[in-house]
């Protein structure tokens, strides 16, 4: 019976090819958008997960002011060597390092200047490692890392190895760049982080940073909590002790202590809200599609009133008529969903490639099975539910009236 209904429904859809196609198109657009958007959301989520894995969740930061609201180098509150020493001594802190950061002018040959962040690092290997973990656990992929005594030497982010991304030509080991008009030699390149800002950074030793920018103070303090300690508890402890050390009242601190997890959560929730808003917009188009399907089904039932009467007169039960029309709209929904998923995957792939070309490797689509299945089921449900009311109406037609309908 189900096979018969399906066969009959399909032949009806085929007989009205153009209308079926147009109706399908309306749902296809919504599903394409939803599939592509969610696949990006998923890709971003798994990038963040991977990033978190590399970074570990045992890190705590101290930032000036209210947190991440300030761009590096724009705050006049900084930390100094004594602050860092104080932090190191707090119970539960395993190791700590400080980082200098500022937006600097970088020139290479005659190409147009760029303005990336310049980072000042400790050359102690464990401290440098801590900073590297902050950037997703990147390591040196070419050349060498900074070491003690390097002053006018720098390591560079991944983007400098790609032509046309920062400068027209890629840099290589030994290239000379000018940071704020001071000539610096590139000694190594870092692996890719996946975010364009991080991949454009140049890293100097703290001595080099002082030499070029004449800044001795730190922008951020990073620490790793001792194994087995709860990072958020340590963060609270640091906040309290550091406030007392600085002689500030509670709630009036000029610094913020955050665990890595807090930051990740903020970052993730912003992205998810953004993604969610886009998905909701796409959902609106699905609602429009549902109305369109309903309209198509009403028209179709009107046209086939006589046919319904004939079918009833030769023994069709109401359920058969109902199922025929629900199947037709369900099939329209399902096909729209199927093509939508395929197109959505295509668009997402293209979008991902475009993002890669701009250095945004963090924005890559992910196509989990549940998303594919979910979109198909959703489209099928939208189709069949939109067809349900017209189908109920059709099934209840009085056979005598329906037969007389011209």
């Amino acid at each position: 019976m189900i096979k018969d209904i399906l066969k009959y429904s399909l032949s009806n859809l085929w007989n009205r090819k153009l209308r079926s196609f147009l109706t399908m198109l309306s749902i296809l657009i919504g599903i394409t958008a939803i599939f592509a958007l969610i696949s990006f959301g998923q890709g971003l989520n798994s990038w963040i997960d991977g990033f978190a894995q590399e970074m570990g969740t045992d890190k705590v930061f101290i930032m000036p002011g209210g947190g991440l609201s300030n761009a590096p180098g724009t705050s006049n509150i900084k930390f100094n060597e004594e602050d860092l020493d104080f932090i190191r001594k707090i119970k539960g802190v395993d190791e700590a390092t400080a980082m200098m950061a500022i937006s600097g002018k970088v020139g290479y040959k005659d190409y147009r200047d760029v303005y990336p962040f310049i980072i000042g690092l400790s050359t102690e290997s464990n401290e440098m490692r801590l900073i590297e973990e902050m950037f997703g656990g990147i390591g040196i992929m070419e050349g060498r890392g900074l070491k003690k005594g390097d002053v006018l030497k720098a390591t560079a982010g991944y983007s400098y190895t790609v032509p046309n991304r920062l400068f027209k030509r890629e840099l290589s080991i030994g290239s000379k760049v000018a940071i704020n008009d001071v000539e610096v030699e590139i000694v190594g390149f870092y692996e890719e982080v996946g975010s364009p800002t991080d991949d454009a950074q140049l890293y100097l030793s703290q001595e080099g940073f002082e030499e070029i920018f004449d800044i001795e103070e730190f922008e951020y303090i990073y620490m790793r909590v001792a194994p087995g300690e709860d990072p958020s508890m340590i963060a609270d402890r640091i906040k309290e002790k550091f406030r007392k050390y600085k002689g500030q009242k509670e709630g009036e601190e000029d610094f913020t202590v955050q665990t890595f997890e807090d930051i990740l959560e903020t970052f993730t929730s912003i992205l998810l809200v953004l993604n969610g808003v886009l998905v909701i917009i796409a959902l609106i188009s699905v609602v429009v599609a549902a109305v369109n399907i309903m309209n198509t089904m009403y028209t179709s039932i009107l046209e086939r009133t006589k046919e319904i009467g004939v079918m009833k007169s030769i023994g069709a039960r109401n359920e058969f008529i109902l199922l025929v029309f629900v199947t037709e709209s369900g099939v329209l929904g399902f096909l729209g969903g199927l093509i939508g998923v395929i197109l959505g995957a295509g668009f997402a792939k293209i979008g991902g490639m475009a993002a890669s070309a701009f250095g945004l490797t963090m924005i890559q689509p992910d196509f989990p099975c549940w998303l594919i299945a979910g979109c198909l089921i959703f489209a099928f449900l939208v189709g069949s539910l939109s067809g349900l009311i017209p189908a109920i109406q059709a099934s209840k037609l009085n056979p005598v009236d329906a037969l007389r309908y011209e």
Partner: protein, 229 residues
């Protein structure tokens, strides 16, 4: 045990009332009508006599506002829409003036459709549809859609469809109305044949006295009830 009724269809004191605005229109006014097993009856009557309504009752397409209809001794006037559908699909074969084939389906699938509704298995119903179409002389045109067939051929498909579930009653509503006289004559031969050879009960509605002559009995309908001659 109910004594077996000698009537396959019995309509008792049937009234059918339609509301048209504030006015009640009585299409049937206490109609009494019986059809015996194996009978060939013609129903005649001028338009407006309640002919269509009466046919709908006989065909179990409609139930009376008041009164009862018995099909094989069973009162069907209280059944639900779907129960009626099931019964008419099994017991009654319709032949319409307009042929009323499903235009999107081939001749063969049109004939299999009533069997689909009765839950007949795929192979069995395809075999039967082929047999019936050969019987009505359309063995070569089974895969044609109605629009690719002549009026006479379409009506023969309709006959094959009416016979699909081997019903007891064939209900023909002006079966030759849309056919030329030669094809109309062929159609009547078919009906007579079904009556004589297959022992089918045939109820035919017509306004043409020449066609009515083929029947064993003619029932005249006037003002919503059968009049005795």
């Amino acid at each position: 045990m109910v004594k077996r009724d000698k009537h396959i269809i019995r309509i008792v004191e049937a009234w059918k009332t339609y509301k048209m605005g504030d006015v009640d229109v009585h299409a049937l006014r206490g109609m009494n009508f019986e059809v015996e097993y194996g009978e060939f009856v013609a129903i005649m009557g001028p338009s407006g006599s309640g002919k269509s309504t009466a046919v709908n009752m006989v065909g179990c397409l409609d139930v009376p506002t008041k009164g009862d209809i018995y099909l094989e001794g069973k009162n069907i006037s209280t059944l639900s829409e779907s129960q009626l559908a099931q019964i008419r699909g099994k017991k009654i074969g319709f032949i319409f003036q307009q042929f009323n084939l499903i235009s999107t389906l081939t001749a063969k699938r049109n004939v299999t459709l009533p069997m689909v509704f009765q839950g007949v298995g795929y192979r069995k119903r395809v075999r039967r549809a082929e047999k019936l179409l050969k019987m009505v002389g359309l063995g070569e045109r089974m895969q044609h859609k109605p629009t690719e067939l002549s009026g006479g051929q379409q009506q023969r498909v309709a006959i094959a469809r009416a016979l699909a579930n081997d019903p007891d009653v064939i209900l023909a509503d002006e079966p030759t109305g849309n056919l030329d006289s030669k094809t109309g004559k062929e159609m009547m031969d078919f009906l007579c044949n079904l009556h004589k050879k297959e022992k089918k009960t045939i109820v035919m509605v017509t306004h043409d006295p020449r066609l009515a002559k083929f029947a064993e009995r003619i029932a005249h309908l006037r003002d919503g009830s059968i009049v005795k001659r």
